[in-house]
Amino acid sequence: MRRPDMRMNRLFALAAAMVVVLAACSSSGTTPAPSAASAAPSAAASEAASAAPSSAAPSEAAKAEVRIGSDNFYESKLMAELYAQALEHAGYTVTRQFGLGSRQTRVPIFTKGLVDLVPEYVGSGLGYYDKTLVTGDGEANRTALQAQYDKADNLATVLAIAPGQDTNAAVVRQDTAASLNLTKMSDLAAVQDKLKWGLPPDCDKNPLCKDALESYGIKYPPKVRRALAACDAPIAQALQGKAIDFAWLCSTQPAIAQFGFKVLDDDKKTQPAENLAPVVRNDYLAKVDKAAFSAVLDAVSAKMTTDELTKLGVKVGVDNEDLEDVAKQWLTDNGLLS
């Protein structure tokens, strides 16, 4: 009877470990962001109200402290950390307020002046204000987003966009791409019946899914389709495991680099351009030398391609490397800390 007991103890230990893991997961899911968001406004709003009108002249504090925020997922945090370290290297004092939730909670926090700088996706950032203005051109989206901030009491400035973007990506396996000669989405219509399609459950009503596919001449719905949420782990695993041959992922999703998927070129620009750009409050920019401050951030953005974003995503999301270390290494490798 000794052995079964020991086995049972191990099982209990395993079960206990699982419970701890699950508890950890759920607690990291509910970030401190909402409480920070709900607790802070009264104090900080008044602070902002008093600070904004009497914004100091640039000469007084040329390198004023900058409060950097981010959304609650690794890519946003990573960009925020990159900007933070570059600014620290340039002599600015940085306060990090990462993980402010999703755009729904983060935009009000930024608007109230609780943070000075956030990394933003120009497509979705613009879509937050007006979905109909979003285009497949990153620079156009940046200009339109800037116009929204101009309308909102000249709130903020959208600095130069990075070439890197995280948008919806039509993805196939390398073996499919090779055997059917697929490089761009226009190539799909001719072979559509040879593919098992992984499409999100809202595809029928989503113009970025159904309408986009139809604009490439694909008959919708395709013969074989499986309903799987886009950008999720199961759809990537299903593609890798050959249960499907086509999947909608996010263009910087670590799975793309991890499994070596082929991203098909969206040659008709059906998907919104989601280039990353730092958005900075104008009341903060008034306190610093705007040109010098922007130059620091622009240098970082300029080097950040979609490939680089994906690689960094694998390090943070798959290899579980420390976000700060990854950011520092990348900045060093790109000569931005010298």
Binding site: L11, P201, A238, G241, K242, I244
Partner: protein, 260 residues
């Protein structure tokens, strides 16, 4: 308030491969398969540990892992394995996506109530009866078949009912991995912000679960030996509710001393 009734009465939703009848059949098929497999595993094991008293703690705790781990986590956790095994074992990877993870997660969820209830039902049988049986020269097999099982039938079917209820509700998560079934309406309703579809899906699952449970309640009553009908459970100490029906979940779960 979404127009749930309007959605349910719309003839469009009652036809074709994506209509309610075909989704209902898909739903029932996988539930039947999961409960069937769970019975094939849980019942014999429960009978063995219940009759002999051997390995009871081990079997029950092992089985309870299936109940403790969330089915969703189990399903998503099984997915990569089910997909990766497809080429080597030689099944269609589509099965590894739409069927195997859900089926295994549901089966693991369905085993514990059946196993535990079977064990508990047998242990509840009066020891004096069994001794008397032995005294009369019954073999162990006869004791199990003629004494223990008939007396334990209400409790065993109670476990079966619990298991079936859980499985009917849980089959809905299969829609996340593109399985059909009634969960399709819930997941698609969520994704499309179609609240009428979402709630109608939930209503359909609930009604199905209650209907199936009602049928099983009748089965339970019919299979219960005449002498036990209309009475509280045999030798059930401190009966605090006076329903004449045996409450399977409470009975099956509460009376098991796991540390034994």
């Amino acid at each position: 308030m979404p127009d749930i009734l309007g959605w349910l009465l719309d003839p469009i939703n009652w036809s074709g491969p994506e209509g309610i009848p075909s989704r209902l059949i898909e739903h029932l098929q996988i539930c039947l398969l999961a409960v069937g497999t769970a019975t094939a595993i849980g019942l014999p094991v429960g009978l063995y540990v219940g009759h002999t008293g051997r390995f009871a703690g081990l079997a029950i705790n092992l089985a309870n892992i299936g109940r403790a781990v969330p089915s969703y986590a189990l399903m998503v956790g099984i997915l990569p394995i089910a997909l990766n095994l497809a080429p080597s074992v030689g099944y269609d990877p589509d099965l590894g996506l739409t069927f195997l993870p859900l089926f295994l997660a549901m089966t693991l969820l369905a085993i514990p109530p059946i196993l535990v209830a079977t064990y508990a039902g047998l242990r509840e049988v009066d020891r004096d009866l069994i001794e008397a049986g032995r005294g009369m020269g019954l073999t162990e097999r006869q004791i199990l078949g003629r004494l223990e099982v008939p007396l334990a039938v209400p409790v065993i079917i109670g476990g079966f009912r619990t298991s079936t209820l859980q499985v009917i509700a849980t089959a809905t998560i299969g829609a996340i991995l593109s399985f059909g079934g009634l969960g399709r309406f819930i997941i698609d309703g969520l994704a499309n912000k179609d609240d009428a579809m979402l709630f109608a899906g939930a209503v359909l699952v609930t009604v199905l679960a209650l209907l199936v449970d009602a049928v099983l309640a009748v089965v339970q009553r019919v299979l219960t030996p005449r002498a036990l009908r209309g009475k509280p459970a045999p030798r059930r100490p401190s009966d605090d509710d006076d329903e004449d029906r045996i409450d399977p979940a409470m009975f099956g779960v509460r009376t098991v001393d796991v540390s034994a």
